[in-house]
Amino acid sequence: MKQKPLINILLKRTSNKTGLCITTILAWVMVSDENITQQEIGFLNAISPDLDKKDIENLRVLLSEFPPESLKIVCNYLQKKLNQQDKVKLLELSIGMMLADGYITLSERYVIEFLSDLFLISPEKLSQIYYSITEKELPSLGDPSSPEWWEKNGFSSNKEQTKEKEPKTSPSRLHEAYATLGLTTNATEDEIKKAFRRLSQIHHPDRFQSLGHEAVKAATINFVKINSAYRYLVGK
């Protein structure tokens, strides 16, 4: 009944296996809300290692289904190949991507916790990474099986819900810019500058050189987005 995992076909064709595995993990983080937008496909095209268009499409199809066998191969590969410092960087990059729209969904959070455990990164370290990016505590997961969880998060006002409710519809440029910097719309200019400085240091592409050019490209995309949000807010 088992098919040969698609990732094996892609791994066979690329000379940059680590790059492909990193791309796969980043894409998994990106599409863990099961909603792949054109922007995200563009992102895949931009960061994908030496794959041709057809393979990128295969990679997209592969990730849209989350075939566990393929993810298993990728996870095993990265667990063995990356050193601990690079594992932490990959987690940082993943969290940065997860927060690129300013929100964190529960499914994204599950993926991050799994990666953290896979790379033997303690919950304390994970909280520390999250804090360094957002200057906020990592929110508790809660129990989505209880009505209190929905109530507490507020179906209409909660970020999780807002994101789910209006997943990729065009939020106003202003709101999007604030969200990218992890701020609310009443943030002061000083807070905007502070958030920009902090985020541009964290997402600076140079920090991810050791992970390869895919990670640098992914960081660059985050970095450009942060820059553009900042320019928009200070110039408004």
């Binding site: 009944m1 809300d33 075939p67 566990p68 455990d117």
Partner: protein, 270 residues
């Protein structure tokens, strides 16, 4: 893929949970938006559970077991038996070289009992939850069948036409066209019930196999345990001459006077 509220209500009513939990489940799942989010999170969590189990991430120091108790690693009876046999064999060997035979037998019995107790403890934890075990096909939820058309292909510059027609019923088809000279050159095609597909194939000799079923579980498990695997007995020669390029139209419809014989194949042969 999404169950109707009637089915959900009936499942909640029949489930072995407290009235409060039933009420909570109903309040969440009766709201389509909440249900969608809840189901999506469950799908992700199940995959994470499966991954943890298959990567052997058991008892890792940083995983919060309480938080994710619904998705613990499940020790199977096969695994347990292997452990017990290993344990007993080691002790029998030790016994052979020892004068303290009786003592070792007692240790052996105690050790075996501990292992069995561990197994039942694990079993208890998992009995009331959606446990991830070593049969991922049955734990992976059904997902939407991919869009009608080429799923993936390494066939480039196709010139010969291939048309495939299916009957309108509940069944979907996952078709594989493989070049006989170079199996790496192949295409995987998703065909929805009752629809036709037309593609261009590079010239050469090809064999065609297909899997069919009603519920799709993804590329790894196809249609799950209900998958039917078939192969077309004929070898298809896509060729051309100076006047024309020859192609085929295949009707995947059972016919008493049909001219295309198919045979059942094993999953490994697919």
């Amino acid at each position: 893929m999404d169950e109707s509220m009637d089915v959900i209500s009936s499942k909640i009513a029949q489930s072995n949970i407290s009235p409060n939990e039933k009420e909570a489940a109903y309040s969440i799942l009766s709201d389509p938006k909440k249900r969608e989010i809840y189901n999506r999170n469950t799908r992700v969590l199940r995959r994470v559970g499966w991954l943890r189990s298959s990567i052997q991430l058991k008892d890792t120091p940083h995983w919060n077991k309480d938080k994710y108790s619904d998705f613990i690693y499940h020790i199977t009876s096969k695994f347990l038996l292997k452990k017990i046999l290993g344990f007993i064999s080691a002790l029998v060997l030790a016994f052979a070289y020892s004068r303290l035979g009786i003592l070792i037998i007692i240790v052996s019995i105690i050790g075996t009992c501990n292992l069995i107790t561990d197994y039942f403890d694990e079993g208890k934890k998992s009995s009331s939850t959606s446990t991830i075990n070593e049969k991922p096909a049955f734990n992976i939820p059904e997902i939407t069948f991919p869009k009608h058309g080429i799923y993936m292909s390494s066939l480039t510059n196709g010139t010969a036409p291939l048309s495939i027609v299916t009957k309108k019923n509940d069944y979907k088809y996952f078709l594989k066209i493989e070049n006989i000279a170079d199996p790496e050159k192949m295409a995987l095609i998703c065909i929805h019930s009752g629809l036709q597909i037309q593609i261009k194939i590079p010239l050469g000799l090809y064999k065609i196999k297909y899997a069919s079923g009603r519920k799709w579980y993804g590329i790894t498990y196809l249609f799950g345990t209900e998958t039917t695997y078939s192969a077309v007995e004929k070898v298809f020669a896509f060729s051309s001459n100076e006047y024309q390029t020859s192609g085929y139209t295949i009707e995947l419809i059972q016919q008493s006077d049909g001219n295309l014989r198919t045979k059942r194949i094993s999953p490994d042969d697919f």
